[in-house]
Symmetry: C2
Subunit: 305 residues, 2 copies
């Protein structure tokens, strides 16, 4: 049998994953878990795809903010539009985590009022064509290959793998099958509300302004997991403080469980930063969550290396 985790160096991290999967998926083993309960949830930004120098969805919103400000220069009096026009990423960075609501409003309301189909078409074009400033590749290529390999390995062991992103559910769904092999219905995230409008051609879905409470971050992640899955994950993976509740929630499973925390310590191949992950890194030690070191554990980060 070929190596199911060929993109992972032979470290204790890799071994912990192999041991866990063997324990819960091998018939006859004491920790065997029924396949229906083998639920895995992964954060997306910084866990499956790159979140630097800014969230990918922020680049998408910036493009829209700039378009809107070009059409109506009065908007430039608002700080979000001004920062977008000036390419001032630091402004948006400063909103997280203290002013998450404002950040999310900028991210989501920029595309309110259009049909869901229009939104998805725009998102797909953006993800397929807009170019990452450092790597010079379309954003949708900025995905961590060892994590994709891990998803395939879990599926081969009858796990059902969900993405639980703090970002926009619909935004990620436009490419989830293509880039992750994860069906749209297994992508959970933050949301606007939709509205069904009856037309002569039947019901059409429109995007309403305003985010659904709670945002799918921090304490909102278990809420959304309950809404969409209704089971506790036995494996959860994240990289930031916003993943603490999800990781810990999976650890309250009555079954054996595994928590994975990806640490960004590879400034050469990706980015090196602990900002926004200080608390989760402390907790990982206390609660025995498995830390993945990008530098030490990943044979390769991106496909295009």
């Amino acid at each position: 049998m070929s190596d199911p985790l060929s993109l992972w160096n032979k470290t204790p991290t890799r071994q912990a994953i192999l041991d866990f999967v063997a324990a819960v998926a091998t018939p006859g083993r004491p920790d065997l878990i029924p396949a229906a309960e083998r639920i895995a949830t992964f954060d997306n930004d910084g866990t499956l795809w790159c979140e630097k120098p800014a969230y990918i969805q922020l680049f998408f919103a910036l493009r829209r903010l700039k378009e809107q400000a070009a059409a109506d220069p009065a908007l430039l009096e608002q700080p979000g539009y001004k920062a977008a026009a000036e390419g001032d990423l630091a402004y948006f960075d400063s909103l997280y985590p203290g002013n998450l609501t404002e950040l999310m409003r900028l991210l989501f309301d920029t595309h309110a009022g259009m049909t869901q189909a229009e939104f998805e078409a725009q998102a797909l074009v953006f993800l397929s064509e807009a170019i990452h400033p450092r790597y010079g590749r379309p954003f949708k290529q900025l995905i961590y290959q060892p994590m994709i390999e891990l998803i395939r390995y879990l599926e081969a062991n009858e796990f059902k793998v969900f993405i639980a992103t703090a970002g926009g559910m619909s935004f990620v769904r436009t490419v989830s099958e293509e880039i992750y092999g994860i069906p749209r219905e297994q992508v959970i995230g933050s949301n606007v509300t939709y509205e069904t409008r009856m037309t002569e051609a039947g019901p059409v879905l429109f995007r309403k302004p305003g985010l659904v409470d709670p945002i799918s971050d921090g304490p909102g992640k278990p809420v959304n997991i309950e809404l969409h899955i209704g089971r506790k994950p036995i494996l959860a993976g994240g990289n930031a403080d916003g993943d603490i509740h999800m990781l810990w929630y999976s650890q309250t499973s009555p079954h054996r469980s595994l928590q994975l925390l990806l640490r960004h310590d590879d400034g050469e191949r990706e980015y090196a930063y602990d900002a926004g992950a200080e608390k989760v890194q402390q907790l990982a030690t206390v609660r025995n969550w498995q830390v993945i070191s990008m530098q030490q554990d990943f044979v390769q980060v991106f496909k295009f290396e």
Copy 2:
């Protein structure tokens, strides 16, 4: 090969189902649809289980309203509690559809404030032990066998089948695997919001009062289908006016699609009523939705007959 729809009489209804499934699931046929897009959604009350003499979840809420009124008789001044104490089902009937919000509030707020785990335990006990007033059987046995057979037949043809109930998502999930063979994560419905509270034992989910807008009925069904599935169903089944939007939505699919409308015309084996389904029955003729006659199309209704 054994008959996949053995509980359906050999009528045009059965033939329409067989023809549709063969057309979309047989390789080489012009209407073949990729398996990932073979999404089916079924309403629950009156489509998969019996909704008379009242919604099953209403009986569940009545029990709770009575308990609460016994503990605090002042509550009896409120009409909902009074009707519950007197077993006045007509009061609750009178709320639908004109005062759906009040009905839903009674159904849901009765179980607010407890943990999600407590709620599910209570719902499971109720569905397994409380007895239907006419059939003398636990409520969870009040399921239409030909519809279950249809679900299995669709699954055998690589459909992914979801329940899209106007009732409580969590209420139905407690038994969906046992009685329908449908995993919890494929049950969509109306919802309260949850709240994650951090305890020493980790995050715990509590049920908050108040329903999430929109209720999963009428125009809210496509909204919830988008939220949970993100694809248009190619097959939708319902029985009441609240299913109009879902049925029509599935018909806006770019693929070939089938809409099924179950008509309750069998007072002998079940109930005969068109109230609350007048509009959808008219539309079914106009829009070529396939009407299922319980009397003519079902060999058997319940398992215990």
